[in-house]
C-alpha cells in the first residue's frame, strides 16, 4: 500500500503569519484574542475574536509576500490566507519549481467551512442600496470555497485532483484525510491539503452569537475567554487563518530526499445523526471516528502520546473528553491532551488543518502545546493531563487530532513519527 507522509507546512494564524512564529508563540503560552478591529463591533453581543494581525504587528501577516495585489482585491480574506499557507508549505517542501510531469501528479484539497461571508455581506448591501449593476464581477469566484484550491492550482500550475471539502469545523481534518486517500489510491503523488476561514465580519459574528456558540460573558477579558475544559468556559472565541500541509507519497519523498515530518497513518470519519449544532450527548460519533482512525493506523490506545482535542471551550468539551476516555482509557493511557483553541480561538474550517500542523510540530520538537486559561479544570478531568497553562516536553511519537462540526460531522487523524 502507498504510504503518505507530510513534507511541508504552512500557517497563517492569529499568533503568526508563518509556521515558526505561530508555533513559538503557542509554546510561549501567548494568546491571540483581543477586541474585534476588523469592523465596529460595538452593537454585537460578542465583541472579541482572535484576528490575524496586520503586517506591522510583532506577529502579523503580510499578504503581499505571496498573493498578487489584484487577487487580494478580488477575493475574500480566507482565500488570501489559504493561498499564502499553500505557498509556505510548497516552499517548505522544496517544491516551488516542479517539472511539468510532477505538476500533473500534484493536486489541491483545501477547503473552508463557511467561505466568503464578508464579501457576501458587503455585496448584498451593494445590491440592495445601489442595484444589480454595481455588484462586483468578481463576486462569485471571490467567495466560493473551492477557490483556494482553484487559485493555488493556477498560481503553481498544479493539474492533479482539485478538491475542496465543506464540512463546517471538521473541514481541515477531512481535507487532509481525503487528500491522503487520493495519494494512497494513486490519483496523485503530492497533495496540498488543508483549510482556511475568515468570518470575523458583522454577519458571521452575529450569526454565531445568535446560535449561542460564542463566548459573550468575557468581552472585557478577551484573553481569558477561550478556556477549554475549565469550569468557567462559556462559548468559543472566533479565530481566522489557514493551515496547509504538503502530503506526499512516501517513496516519492524519499527519492527526492525530502524532509519528512510525519506519516498520516489513520483517518476516521463519522456522523452523529443527532442534532444540527449539539454533539451527541454521549459522544458516540466522536468515538466512532477516533476508533476508525486507530483501527486504520493499526494502533492501540497506549500508542497515542498526544491528542489535539477539538475542545472549543463550550459545554461540548465534556462530551469529547468522555469519548476520548472510552477510546484511550480513563487516564488516556499515557497520552497528554490539549486544546490550542485556547490560544488562537476556533478557526472553524481551518481548525483541523492548523491543529494537525501543531500535532506534527509536537512530533518534530517533542513538546506538547498547552491549554491556556485552565485554572479550574471541570469535573471528570482528574487523572487526565490536559497540559494546563504551559507547554510540556515529553515523548511524542504518535498523535490523534479530533475535529467535529455542525451537522454532526466528525473526523479524526492519526499521524506518527517516521524513523
Amino acid at each position: 500500500m502507498r504510504r503518505v507522509v507530510v513534507t511541508g507546512l504552512g500557517l497563517v494564524t492569529p499568533l503568526g503569519g508563518d509556521v515558526e512564529t505561530s508555533w513559538a508563540n503557542i509554546l510561549a503560552s501567548k494568546n491571540g484574542a483581543g477586541p474585534i478591529t476588523h469592523f465596529d463591533a460595538s452593537d454585537q453581543k460578542c465583541t472579541i475574536a482572535c484576528e490575524v494581525k496586520p503586517k506591522d504587528h510583532e506577529y502579523g501577516f503580510d499578504a503581499d509576500k505571496r498573493v498578487d495585489h489584484k487577487v487580494q482585491r478580488q477575493v475574500d480574506p480566507f482565500i488570501v490566507y489559504g493561498i499564502d499557507a499553500a505557498g509556505q508549505a510548497l516552499e517548505d517542501a522544496g517544491l516551488e519549481d516542479m517539472s511539468d510531469d510532477l505538476k500533473i501528479r500534484t493536486g489541491c484539497s483545501i477547503g473552508a467551512g463557511i467561505g466568503g461571508l464578508p464579501g457576501i455581506e458587503r455585496e448584498s448591501i451593494v445590491l440592495k442600496e445601489r442595484g444589480p449593476g454595481r455588484v462586483s464581477p468578481h463576486f462569485v469566484h471571490g467567495r466560493l470555497i473551492n477557490l483556494i484550491s482553484g487559485q493555488v492550482s493556477i498560481k503553481y500550475g498544479l493539474m492533479g485532483p482539485n478538491h475542496a471539502v465543506v464540512t463546517a469545523c471538521s473541514t481541515g481534518a477531512h481535507s487532509i484525510g481525503d487528500a491522503a486517500r487520493m495519494i494512497r489510491d494513486d490519483d496523485a503523488d503530492i497533495m496540498l491539503a488543508g483549510g482556511a476561514e475568515s468570518t470575523i465580519n458583522p454577519l458571521g459574528v452575529a450569526g454565531f452569537a445568535q446560535a449561542r456558540a460564542l463566548n459573550m460573558s468575557m468581552n472585557d477579558r478577551p484573553t481569558e475567554a477561550s478556556r477549554p475544559y475549565d469550569k468557567d468556559r462559556d462559548g468559543f472565541v472566533m479565530g481566522e487563518g489557514a493551515g496547509v500541509v504538503v502530503l506526499e507519497e512516501y517513496e516519492h519523498a524519499r527519492a527526492r530526499g525530502a524532509k519528512i515530518y510525519a506519516e498520516v497513518v489513520g483517518y476516521g470519519l463519522s456522523g452523529d445523526a443527532y442534532h444540527v449544532t449539539a454533539p451527541h450527548p454521549e459522544g458516540k460519533g466522536a468515538e466512532l471516528a477516533m476508533n476508525m482512525a486507530l483501527r486504520k493506523a493499526g494502533m492501540a490506545a497506549g500508542d497515542i502520546d498526544y491528542v489535539n482535542a477539538h475542545g472549543t471551550s463550550t459545554m461540548a468539551d465534556t462530551i469529547e473528553l468522555s469519548a476520548v476516555k472510552r477510546v484511550l482509557g480513563d487516564d488516556l493511557s499515557g497520552a497528554s491532551m490539549s486544546s490550542t483553541k485556547s490560544a488562537i480561538g476556533h478557526l472553524l474550517g481551518g481548525a483541523g488543518a492548523v491543529e494537525a500542523i501543531f500535532c506534527i510540530l509536537a512530533i518534530r520538537d517533542q513538546i506538547v502545546p498547552p491549554t491556556l486559561n485552565l485554572q479550574n479544570p471541570d469535573e471528570g478531568t482528574d487523572n487526565v493531563d490536559l497540559v494546563p497553562l504551559v507547554a510540556k516536553k515529553r515523548t511524542v511519537n504518535a498523535v490523534l487530532n479530533n475535529s467535529f462540526g455542525f451537522g454532526g460531522t466528525n473526523a479524526s487523524l492519526v499521524m506518527k513519527k517516521v524513523d
Binding site: D68, H69, K70, Q72, R73, R134, S136, P137, H138
Partner: protein, 79 residues
Amino acid sequence: MSDTADRVSKIVVEHLGVEADKVNQEASFIDDLGADSLDIVELVMAFEEEFGVEIPDDAAEKITTVGDATKFIEEHNKG
C-alpha cells in the same frame, strides 16, 4: 497628462496592481497590463463611479486601451 488621463491611470494601477510607469495611454488592458475580461468589467464600473458617467455595454466593448477609456470619459463627462 490631462486630469482625466491622470485619474484613469490611477484607477488602473489600483485595480490591476500594475506599476504606474506601465500605464500609458497606449497600453492595452489585456495585452500590456494582464487584465482579463472581468477585470475590464470592473474597471468600467470604477470609471463610472469616479467620473459619474454611464458607459453602456456596447461602448465598453470598444474600450481596449487606457487611452480609449480616457477619450470616452472626456467626451461624455459633462461634469
